[in-house]
Symmetry: D2
Subunit: 317 residues, 4 copies
């Protein structure tokens, strides 16, 4: 055991700091969550500034409703992300905004039965009007009519959707444009699923989305990459899907991994499992740079992206 | 606002208590987590003892690896559960045991790179030998060869698997026997997915599992039920899939709902969202009996099942 | 590293189980929180059934308001606890009940400004009427007049209080009767503190309670004990006070330690620190039986006490 | 109920942002933790920029070991804090550094029994060498010899210590210089307590620190203040001590309150209780600006201080 690490230097804060200057102060301390956030920024910067790293972003949790849509779109636009793995809900909420509706600041301490009567759906302290949801349902079902009724993978299906969206701030559209594949293993578990079900009951089309076909595409990406780096916001299916692929790769494992989550290891589920645990499976390399930040993605991820973009801007000069 | 609830009576503990006697003491207190556990038992008992309640069980988290397999199998056997919604992993671990292998008591504070070299996969403090995983892969792929290569839903696919398992303690087999449907929206996100991918790459069969087809079956069950009750262990896809179906039902919403989880509402994700939030969406009825227990399912769920079985046994006499 | 622990056996639940029978099923699994609860019961049973173990109970959190008062009183009565370390608030709420008032079942989702107007104080989902608090203030200040105005330690001060309480279910009274010392380092941080302040401002007495004097008594107990065992409900001052004493003992450290808490290690505070961390300081022995259960004390502790009392009852026969 | 709050605008991140520019983006979203952090900054800025607000800072958790010492010292130096309430441990670690020793970056996944043999004390991922602790003990006991042996309050006792410290970065010294009182109700629950005990056993002096005397000073401050604002890092005794004082004030309650913590309300303890709950007691005013951020203080607090200092610097120009 190393008896002596370096000294914990105390964080200093001034009134004219850039975000990365603050993050570097976190790095001076190097311990507790501050140290972990600094390490996460270092890892993400290495992922985007080194050539030959394929970069995966996992999205679990209500990231679009809470205001993270633009950050994700911009990362795809700037190709700081090569592969997206997401819950269905984040793509639904991307479309809700693409179709002209919005999310609203509400409150988490309300009478939900009363909200139900007012036709407002609640996502923690975000409100969504059911009329906006209905508008989305209509426009999305109309879009489905336009999609060729053939056998396809979930990735292809989401690409067909993305191509048909006009809003330049849309994650789905930007990913389609930039050829960033979107994987969404549990797509049926979202309003997309409900709408496809409605559509198929009514129109009985031959649209046939294969539950397993994506794995082939995903494995191809993972296996061809020189180096792999994963940024995981939350846990859930996106975390597991991104990590599990490495089991199929000989001497595989992510070279870089960052998870930002409020989940913890003690309940034993994969969402809160440490990235160390992932090393036992070969999902993350023994020698990988990996860090898990126990914190809220809505704060920590914008902070990370700002610090990394600042470094990139400075490196360019 | 009700100024005065009933008095908090103090829990009394003796040396000869049955589990339900302890739970009834929790009910005397009625507050904090103790009160919530007592309420959860009352709700589950009402669900299983009243006629006409369709009972859904959502499984997220490593419930089979931590020793909950028999409890789940027995609930299906005794038809205390009518519909199962699960992560893929729990079905994989059910098969690993069905094929003769086991999970082992390990430790959560180990050198995971060393574990990797020893070919041991870690799930918190559970160890799994890779040789057992390989054995599972082989036997499962062999089983796949036997499954008719046709288009089917995920539910049908899992039923085909369940029919072919011999172990009477298997969740998959018992569900197949008892005609309890198993839904698994993210089935590709598990070793089942990896094995189907391996199988299809090699054998190029015409097995087509439809990502959306299950929704039809699930909606039929939900819409035909007189009353609906959900027991949710953890959150994730199973929680969302069970709840979202109600959005399609006019004046719908679960009549009973219990969630046992360590997730919390503040990060904003669906896993930790309160059951109150679900009322705003119409997923849970405004007047439903619903309670969320912040606790570990490996302790709280066996306690609940023991208390409810004790009440059922007493009611029979 | 031990490659192979014993097999995880699946928990079986019947309709006629005693609490300890359920706990023994948790032990068969041996992993996740179920395994930890089983281990906690084994440790507590060993502490109370072996001779020569001095048993410390740390109380942090609103344990009396949530219905745990009788359990604690009974443990003192049966001398299953030798030393109590507590927050001030638990002793205040013990007195509130001793003086004839009660806590009431309320709700955690209420308008707190409205509660304030109704003169109801909220403790999560427990309500307390301000009139009962005022009654306590009056009776406690009257008691203070009776206490000799001399220099004393906090322990002596609480003993003087306990002697003057008549309610046989009172923790303070039972501890005074059974000569179980109560330590409360932050006694000023409670209504006891506020009332002593009120009393001293008005009456200007010579009551002097020494902030440090208790350490002498506590060190004497710790240093004379053959073996030491700590049960920690929550963290806070009681956990730290119980553990820190061992730093003064040569080759010291608790031989047994159980903590039940919802706090976690990642924020770095002592409340959620692992019992492993305590080993580095010599607060817990390297070879100690120690387990931390991440769970709610209002459920886990009554369960533990019921299981241990069942074993004691069986051992007597 | 307000049906419609303002629209959730999406956070935008560039490569040249100051910390406050990022925080203002959080404010544009306004929801989830991002919104809460923005609100916390607004409140803290209002507290320090408006005249007549008495500002309390509560310190619980290992804030000095993790690198927050300088931030706290600077806040006192710039009188952005008027009153400090702390655990004993933070003052101990302040002295350890004042006496020339340091904390070191270690690891949270180590063999703690081995650390014990190496005479290293662990605080999550911070290491502290026992030789540095012994040096502190010696120098502190020497300091005690110099402190007049009379009756005093804990606040006076800490002031006597602060006066004797030479390190200009010390919290204790800076507070003594700037006449910022330090309250530490559980001072005995720390190495300060252990050292006073050692000192008194050996030297039998007449140093007599009164457990209750501080309340008088604290109440005077609270009652004389025009407006009161509390910043609470963690919960514990500092949170309760700061809040409880308001119970004694007619129509009292904090006008501003911010808590940064990883504790949650569900276990029912005061540490994780919402600031809403505090309104029922009159500890926080019904109309107060109050926000609780579920996050790690080592990241969130430096971020807040940087944003607020930036606003102050801009306001000056």
């Amino acid at each position: 055991m190393k008896k002596q690490g370096r000294r914990v230097e105390h964080i200093e804060v001034r009134g004219d700091m850039t975000v990365d200057e603050l993050v570097r102060e976190f790095g001076k301390s190097g311990v507790f969550s501050a140290g972990r956030v600094a390490e996460a920024c270092d890892i993400f910067y290495e992922m985007v500034s080194h050539k030959g790293v394929t970069k995966y972003l996992g999205l679990a949790g209500a990231l679009v409703p809470c205001g993270m849509r633009q950050i994700i779109t911009d990362l795809i636009q700037d190709r700081m992300v090569d592969v997206l793995v997401t819950t269905g809900a984040n793509m639904v909420h991307d479309m809700i905004e693409a179709f002209g509706a919005a999310h609203y600041k509400g409150s988490a301490t309300v009478d939900d039965s009363e909200l139900c009567r007012l036709k407002i759906d609640r996502i923690y302290d975000v409100f969504l009007h059911e009329k906006d949801f209905i508008k989305y349902d209509e426009l999305f079902v109309k879009m489905l009519e336009d999609i060729p009724s053939r056998q396809m993978s979930i990735r292809e299906f989401l690409y067909e959707i993305g191509k048909r969206i006009e809003d330049p701030n849309s994650i789905l559209r930007t990913a389609a444009e930039k050829k960033v594949p979107i994987f969404c293993p549990a797509v049926a578990d979202s309003a997309i699923g409900l709408d496809v079900w409605r559509f198929m009951s009514k129109h009985n089309p031959n649209l046939f989305v294969d539950a397993f076909a994506d794995l082939n595409d995903f494995m191809n990406i993972v296996q061809k990459a020189k180096r792999n780096g994963a940024i995981l916001l939350g846990g859930g299916v996106p975390k597991n899907f991104i990590l599990q692929a490495m089991i199929t790769v000989k001497r595989g494992g992510y070279d870089y991994a960052v998870q930002i989550t409020m989940d913890r290891p003690e309940p034993g589920g994969l969402s809160g499992a440490t990235l160390e645990e992932a090393k036992s499976w070969g999902k993350v390399k023994g020698g990988a740079r990996a860090v898990q930040v126990i914190g809220d993605a809505s704060v920590i991820f914008p902070l990370m992206v700002a610090a990394v973009r600042e470094r990139l801007a400075k490196a360019k000069r």
